[in-house]
Amino acid sequence: MTFNAAALLLLIAGLALIGWIAGRQRSNLLAGRAGTKLHSRPQYHGWYVALWLFAPAALFLAVWSSVSPGLITNEVLTDEAAQSLPSFGFERGAILSDARSVALDKQDAVRLPAAAPLVQPYADAAHKYAWIGIAAMLALALAGGLYAFTRIKPDFRARTRVERIVMAVLLLASLVAILTTFGIVLSLLFESIRFFQLVSPLELLFGTNWAPQSGAPQPDTFGGIPLFWGTVLIGAIIAMIVAIPIGMMTAVYLTQYAAPVVRRWVKPILEILAGVPTVVYGYFAALTVAPALRNFAVLIGVPNASTESALAAGIVMGVMIIPFVSSMADDSINAVPQAMRDGSLALGATPNETIRQVLIPAALPGVMGGILLAVSRAIGETMIVVMAAGLSANLTANPFASVTTVTAQIVKLLTGDQEFDSAKTLAAFALGLVLFVVTLLLNIAALRIVKKYREAYE
């Protein structure tokens, strides 16, 4: 007899079904009597019983599954056969887990001789705790079910109770994403603090030499400026020079000139482009655009042109961002009231003048918000820069040179065999934190602008 959580969950689900039927039946019986009127319909009484039966038992099951292995191990350790175990460390753990595997039938025979005498005590303890757990769970399920069952009365408000429980479950579901993000930020923060104990934050933020070495941190090797510059050059300058004009022109065409048929086809296609995995763009950048740009650079006589260039990564990233910019601009231009457009046309303005002088200025705040969101996406983008921009931290304004970005360096720092407590590895977390804070601020600014602008026309 072992403790099989999945089977037990099924068992209490079955019990809950019985509880549901019983609860419904009982309320039906009550409703059958003359002169009684149920507050809630019978199935709500059924659900009420079922939930009381299921939820506490399932909760106990979850807790017990995580606690009982520890209890079992403690029990085994009190056995006299365990007294000869090494006092702590890797070997002790290996022996215990070997014994556990055999005791739970996951393995035919012990691999470590020292584990053999522990197998039987382990099996006994597991058996004992499995029974305790099952008994407690069943008791809890029955107690819950009975409690709920006895509360069924004609005027019992089962519906409101059930709805409240459902609401609580929905609330819990919505909290999962938020709490997880919060946890990620905290872990990022703690690792960053460890890094900043080794290297000054000022060095990371303002230093100009990036050459992290393994082992103890060398002075002046963790300067983040080349990385930040590379990120800005690729994501905020080159990519935006490509994406903003093309995206805006796309939006103007689609909102003002395109026939409905064209719009019906082109807009979804653009939205599909936004879903192309970035690694595909990365291949395109590394295999097609970068060599072509290098040849071009050699042709016009740029010294030390590289196959890995800021320009290649930036252009392809810009192309990737186009659908994003055009869709935001499209929404903003469409949100400008038709009356504004009519007002301008009625004064004898051409469609072109109307777009340039009325629609775009009116849509500008929304467009700006969209551009900020696009920048924040671009500077967080990883695959394209890893594949096309290179990894050498140069502080240069030459777009044909190889530069590196924050995200590319994070990938470089964390891949391969790394000791997890060196400044070199921890630097990845600090860089991640900087990136997180910057994109967070950009997103907040963008959303505020967009929201303010929306209010103006509603």
């Binding site: 504004m340 301008s344 004064l347 009116a362």
Partner: protein, 260 residues
């Protein structure tokens, strides 16, 4: 008073047998009407009778609706405005329009009024534009209220002021005809009274066509009234005649509040 004679010797605009379709649906059926140069002409009728549709075909604003189609002949000073040779940009500069809801651009008051003159190149210098803007605002009766805050946003004005700003904006390009599509329907009674007063003052300078729901308003501001019903022009005549002595039964029913 010759100008109040029903026959208009030299009409500013002349519509003959005009039909307007939205897709397969006919919104206007065989309407013929003359618009006098020095007169205010009111279009009245119940909702959905086509009076706004007809108004919008007078400066080809229906062109912006893809499914709209206009047949028949509409002339401005004897020139067919739907002829291929007619430049719609020039046409709209000559036939201005004021809309139901005030729709100032999200620009300064000055730039709102200066928008039209700028795009039509009416003001070579800043000083010229200053003169045009001031004259338009004075004519629209808004100058005294806004002369100290010309650089503030036009959208910050009250509803009535916004509508007068839109009228000033239309006047600034010096049109020959001003079309007003229920210009007071979004305004309170005081703002409405100011607009009506303004229409009185503008009469004679521009040919004015006003669509209105409000029959008292039509009686107050116009010299000619056209009654539309179900896409047809039921009766057209001197405003005094229409309101005191309508010839058609349907007009009489509408005037007396039987329907609409």
């Amino acid at each position: 008073m010759t100008q109040d004679d029903l026959t208009i010797a030299d009409p500013k605009m002349k519509a003959q047998g005009v039909d307007v379709f939205y897709g397969d649906k006919q919104a206007i059926n065989n309407v013929s009407i003359d618009v006098g140069t020095d007169l205010v002409t009111a279009f009245i009728g119940p909702s959905g009778c086509g009076k706004s549709t007809f108004l919008r075909s007078l400066n080809r604003m229906n062109d912006t609706v893809a499914s709209a189609k206009v047949t028949g002949r509409i002339e401005l000073d004897g020139e067919d405005i739907y002829a291929p040779s007619m430049d719609v940009v020039q046409l709209r500069a000559r036939v201005g329009m004021v809309f139901q809801k005030p729709n100032p651009f999200p620009k300064s008051i000055y730039d709102n009024v200066g928008y039209g003159p700028r795009i039509h190149g009416l003001a070579p210098t800043k000083a010229d534009l200053d003169v045009i803007v001031e004259r338009a605002l004075v004519r629209a009766g808004l100058w005294d209220e806004v002369k100290d805050r010309l650089l503030e946003s036009g959208t910050a004005l009250s509803g009535g002021q916004q509508q007068r700003l839109c009228i000033a904006r239309a006047i600034a390009v010096d049109p020959e005809v001003i079309l007003m599509d229920e210009p007071c329907s979004a305004l309170d009674p005081i703002a409405t009274a100011k607009i009506e007063e303004l229409i009185h003052e503008l009469r004679g300078k521009y040919a004015i066509v006003i669509v209105t729901h409000n029959m008292q308003q039509a009686a107050r501001v116009s010299q000619r009234t056209a009654f539309f019903h179900l896409g047809t022009l039921v009766e057209y005549g001197k405003t005094t005649d229409i309101f005191t002595n309508p010839k058609q039964e349907r007009t009489k029913d509408y005037i007396t509040g039987r329907y609409g």
